[in-house]
Amino acid sequence: MDFIIQNILNALQWGSFYALIALGYTLVYGVLTLINFAHGDIFMVGAYIAFFVASWLLGPVIGLDPTWTFVLAIPITMFLTAGVGVTLERIAYRPLRRKGAHRLYVVITALMCGLILEYGNLACLGASRKKFPDLLEKVIWHFGDVAVTNLKVLVIFAAIAVFIFLNFIVTKTKIGMAMRGISYDKFAIPLMGIPIDAIIVFTFILGSSFAGLAGLLFAMSYPVLEPFMGALIGWKAFIAAVVGGIGDIRGAFYGGFLLGFIEVGVVSIFPSTYRDLFAFSILLIILWMKPTGLFGVAKNTKI
């Protein structure tokens, strides 16, 4: 029994990261119907930004204690990562959109931007890994044979809080209504007096800042940073978002946790080589039965 509870907690933590990254994919897709393949790498950049912010705050110039560093690192990291996301939108996606390029070209641009971020990082910072400093005083709680760290609990709560927050923004606020509006009709929305570019920038700010938060929490949980850390997890989070129904906030959230549970569940029973085989077979069956994903709505044009 303890074994199962422990693995449920493991899956919740691992699924939280998929969910946080999948939320960013789904936000941008929901508004622009653009698959922002650079999102996994924005997450990686977020982790590196968190690393530099934390080192700077802990360093001799500022000299804060770790707890305050953590508190301050959250908004700074989210702000700076949002800047990266907005910059990408401004220099890569918006010009293509203005010229009326087909969505396919924008998706390829996104892929290239991701690679540029990866190899730019490799070129600037080198291949050797970075160690993320310890920010939280680690506390391990024991319940029988089950062990939980305070960080694990924090990560799970952060994912749930981000989901509730984004769900509120998209479904209950005016700006959320505008976001949903753009996804229905890009041409009618400006006629209603809604500044379409500002809404798109806001979407990128939301998606990228939470990728930054995910990067910070990931770097604290798995404190070894490398330039390609975002590639694989980004791809998998994208698949999770599709299975959940891309474009829907709930879909990304449940899809992320679903993938986390399948992966941890398979590894806890079978050898690890079966993990991706089983995980993606299950996801394939879900898509086969429900091609638009768990929460998706059928649209006549998708990439």
Binding site: S128, R129, A147, P223, V264, V267
Partner: protein, 393 residues
């Protein structure tokens, strides 16, 4: 007009690209000896490539400052060509081919890790180019490959060393293993360890779990291992994964010791893992702390030049170069034709029966594998690798 300009500029671009291709085919100078290095300068284990390259640069400077290598009464300058295999198996074979076909090297040193050395060894053997792997411990690297040699001991020796040490030191009856299933080195050593532990008859290997190279979360495997309650966990993994594994195991409430293998022995292990790794043991090729004689001279010079203690792969690269140069001297004469020279160097290597290096003295068996001692070190409370025990075959 516009179309014409476009055509011309495209043509120019293609010509420039071709020029890059041809740049590789520079003519060989008769009085230099070219040796290629197949190193992981980026990818999973960049620190290993970097350390090897630094040791090689130091050796190169020594030889060339002295006027070159003396072969048959004449001095030849050395040229080392370093290429990056990105810590990938397929890139390692490409690098080997590039070094052979484009650079026309007479011999290759590296790759370091068995994951790259096993496939690259096949390439070198098929193309009849002598190769020495400094750090590879998997038997398949040199098995039935007359052109491939190595400077490190083998896993069939390392596995029992680890098992014996853990049984004695931890008084252990049961063991848990976590290894990288997509890495030849890690998988091979884990299997050898399992066999030798079970052969001791103290108790079973209660958990034998695997993971992938790019994995970051090991909590599911570790939960299974900890649930089986082993007396210690053996982790034959690369240093970057070790840092994550040890931390996650402690987070899951594991309090027992860890035992590692030679892939642990890099300064980056301490940088990434920190205090979590202190007090654990691993088997390796040499211990930097408390070294004497030629080993100490090497360590002091390396520290002075690069400001860091050389890890085992740097020392083994140094020894590999030493073995290679002795083989070249054995040929007695430098042939201008690389193919003839490669053959001569291979014979020179096969003729070496024993070698006194900075990682200890070794004898070579019929397979081209050295028979040498292993060292078990402890990670001290200051993060140094302190000599604990030496085990000789």
């Amino acid at each position: 007009m516009k179309g014409f300009l476009k055509g011309v500029s495209l043509l120019a671009l293609m010509l420039i690209s071709c020029a890059f291709l041809l740049a590789g085919c520079g003519e060989d100078k008769a009085n230099t000896i070219k040796i290629g290095f197949n190193l992981p300068l980026t990818g999973d284990i960049p620190e290993v490539g970097e350390g090897s390259k630094k040791a090689a640069q130091m050796y190169l400077k020594d030889i060339n400052d002295a006027g070159g290598l003396e072969v048959g009464g004449q001095k030849y300058a050395l040229e080392f060509i370093y290429m990056d295999n990105e810590s990938k198996a397929e890139s390692a074979t490409n690098v080997a081919l590039k070094l052979i076909d484009q650079e026309n090297v007479i011999a290759i040193i590296g790759p370091n890790s068995s994951k790259q050395a096993v496939p690259a060894g096949g390439t070198c053997n098929d193309n009849r180019v002598p190769m020495i792997s400094p750090w590879s411990t998997n038997p398949n690297t040199t098995l039935d490959r007359p052109w491939v040699f190595r400077a490190a001991f083998l896993d069939p020796f390392q596995g029992p060393v680890v098992a014996d040490f853990a049984a004695k030191k931890f008084n252990a009856k049961t063991a848990g293993v976590l290894f990288d299933v997509s890495n030849d080195y890690s998988k091979g050593l884990a299997e050898i360890f399992k066999a030798s532990w079970e052969a001791k008859g103290l108790g079973p290997v209660v958990a034998f779990e695997s993971h992938g190279t790019k994995d970051q979360d090991f909590s599911a495997q570790l939960t299974t291992i900890i649930d089986a309650n082993p007396d210690f966990i053996f982790v034959p993994d690369n240093y970057n994964q070790v840092a994550l594994i040890v931390q996650q195991a402690r987070d899951l409430g594991y309090k027992g010791p860890f035992m590692g293998s030679d892939a642990w022995g890099t300064p980056d292990l301490i940088k990434l893992c920190g205090e979590q790794c202190y007090g654990n043991f691993f088997s390796t090729h040499y211990a930097a702390a408390g070294a004497t004689g030629a080993t100490k001279v090497f360590i002091d010079r390396y520290e002075e030049a690069y400001g860091a203690t050389p890890a085992d792969y740097a020392a083994l690269t140094w020894d590999s170069i030493g073995i290679m140069l002795e083989a070249i001297k054995n040929t007695g004469k430098v042939e201008a034709d690389p193919v003839a020279m490669r053959k001569a160097v291979r014979e020179g290597l096969a003729a070496i029966k024993s070698f006194d290096g900075i990682t200890g003295s070794s004898k070579f068996d019929a397979q081209g594998d050295p028979i040498k001692c292993a060292v078990v070190v402890k990670i001290s409370d200051k993060g140094e690798f302190v000599f604990e025990e030496s085990v000789c075959p």
